[in-house]
Structure formats: structure tokens, C-alpha cells
Subunit: 154 residues, 2 copies
DNA sequence: TATTGTTATACTCTATAACTATA
DNA sequence: TATAGTTATAGAGTATAACAATA
């Protein structure tokens, strides 16, 4: 059984990934999955997913935004955003108000309850973000952000 | 219409993301999506997805590997790996051989055709990887990999 | 009893087309 | 004609449980 444990423990160290392990793309995926998993866990007490928090943050920053705009900046198809906003609205966190001069669109804003929940969620998010930043090590945050932005624009 | 164009062009610059834009997690997602999209396009001529290439690379590096091990190192559930290997095997790229002393498992290896296709795919991958590395800018590759590894271990 | 590969299934995320009511 | 929101649907990717054969 010692033999078995040694075999199992050594897998991630001894099995070569054929160069994949020194690839930015592969580690980028592992890192992104880990970050989302960690943030999702941090948001669990508030019953919010990562996208929900993103939506609330954007609306808080610019009340009156239309769904289309939120979809654009968050890279979410406007059709997929409908259900997300529906749920936030049903929970009384977000309000779909009228847009003066355009009866097709909605002006989104946070309710008092939404604002209150967001504040708590932001505290959890800040704690999560601190963990991520600590993991940067020698890499400067600003340079990391710049690098990720350039990669995102490939 | 000038007004309309200006409104549209300015969205990504003028609409605040509520702090999200200076967050490692958010940009990590955008970067990862872009990298996978770019790599997928690069692999299109060979009809390979990103995971397919990863599997081929790992098998090439260590012929005789079992599916379970590949799933572990690539973070793919062994049940989801079945179809992936099925397809590669059906295309004559991968072979499921016997494992001496364990008739439950398969020893995976590349066929001649699989090896040949992989060489071409590797060239395309190298070109893609070069683009990603160029986007790193001032960030040292080794330090970036180390940072991503630490984030992945959150 | 535990493990390998397998099957079946479900759930989330994402993508596309078409509809409505407005503009 | 074009646009905002909506509906329906389909496709990935991922996750879980249970099974047969074998250890």
C-alpha cells in the first residue's frame, strides 16, 4: 500500500504534460477555474454567482444602464442576460425602470435591498481578491493586468 | 448617425465596470477565453479541440498512460475522457493497448498517423504560443507561470 | 472491497435564430 | 429598417451516480 500511495502522490509531479505545464494558456485555465471556484464559494452565503456580482457591480457604478450595455461590457449575450436580470429582479435586488424616450429599453438600478446585499458581497469579494493578489508574488499587479488585457485582445 | 457611432464606440471606454476592470479575476477570464479561442482556431485545420491536443501531447510524452492518469493531470473527469479517446481512436490517432498485469485498464499510445498529425498541430500551437508570449510585455514568463500556479492552488 | 473504464444523465454556460414592440 | 428585450433551442463543457469487469 505504500507502493500504491507513492504512485498516486507522484502522478502530478512525475507524469510529464508534454510541455503543457510550461504553457501560459494551460496555467491560465487552471488559474481561472480556481479563481472562479474560490469566488463562487465566497459568494455562496449571498446566493450570488460570479456573473450576478458582476452585474450588480456594473449597475451600482452606472445606474440606469440598459441590459444591452451590461451584456457588452461583461461579454454576456443579451439573450442570456434576461434570465439573470429576471432572477435578480424577482429577489428584489434589481429594478427595471423606464428609459425616458425609449419604451423598448429598461433602465436598471439597484433596490435598497440590492444595495445592502451588494455591500456585504463586496466585502467577501475583497477578501477573495486579497488572496488572489497575494498569489501574484513578484509580479506587479498593474503589469499583470496589462499583460492579461493584451492577451484578451489577441 | 455620428451620434450613434460615438455612443457605441465609447461604451467600453466610458461605462465603468465598478472596479471589475482592475480585477485579476475578471481579466483572467477574458484572457483565458481569448487564448482558447485563438488556439481553437489554430487547431481547426487539424480538426482538434484544445483538449484533444492536450491529450495527444500527454500521451506522446508518456506512452502507455492510462485514461485515469490523463484525466487527473488534465483535470478532466475520467467519464468525460471516454468520448474524447473514443473519437481519437476512431480517427486512428490513438491506440488503446493492453496493460500488462491489469486487464481493466488501457495503455494509450499514438499511432503513426497520430504522431504525424501531432507534429503539424504542434507547429500551429507553437505559433499560437508565440503570440501569447509576445503579449506578456514586461512580465517575465517564468514569473507569470509561477503566479498562475499559485493562483491555481488557491 | 477498491479501481478502471463505461454509460447515462443532468446541470451550467454559451451561442443563434426568430419574435415583439418599439425606434 | 434597425434596435431592445425576449423566447426557444442547441451545443459545449463539466459533474455525479451507478454498473461490469477486474484487482
Amino acid at each position: 500500500m505504500i507502493e500504491a500511495r507513492e504512485r498516486k502522490d507522484s502522478i502530478s509531479e512525475e507524469v510529464s504534460l508534454g510541455g503543457l505545464e510550461t504553457t501560459v494558456g494551460f496555467l491560465l485555465r487552471l488559474a481561472q477555474v480556481a479563481v472562479f471556484k474560490d469566488l463562487l464559494a465566497a459568494l455562496k452565503p449571498f446566493d450570488l454567482r460570479v456573473t450576478d456580482l458582476s452585474v450588480l457591480l456594473v449597475i451600482e457604478a452606472t445606474p440606469g444602464l440598459q441590459q444591452r450595455v451590461i451584456g457588452e461590457v461583461l461579454r454576456v449575450q443579451r439573450s442570456n442576460l434576461v434570465t439573470i436580470i429576471d432572477q435578480l429582479e424577482a429577489r428584489g435586488l434589481v429594478r427595471r425602470g423606464p428609459v425616458p424616450g425609449d419604451r423598448r429599453a429598461y433602465a436598471l438600478s439597484l433596490t435598497v435591498a440590492g444595495e445592502a446585499l451588494l455591500q456585504k458581497a463586496k466585502a467577501a469579494h475583497a477578501q477573495h481578491d486579497r488572496k488572489v493578489l497575494d498569489a501574484l508574488g513578484k509580479v506587479d499587479k498593474a503589469q499583470m493586468l496589462a499583460a492579461l488585457e493584451r492577451i484578451a485582445a489577441l
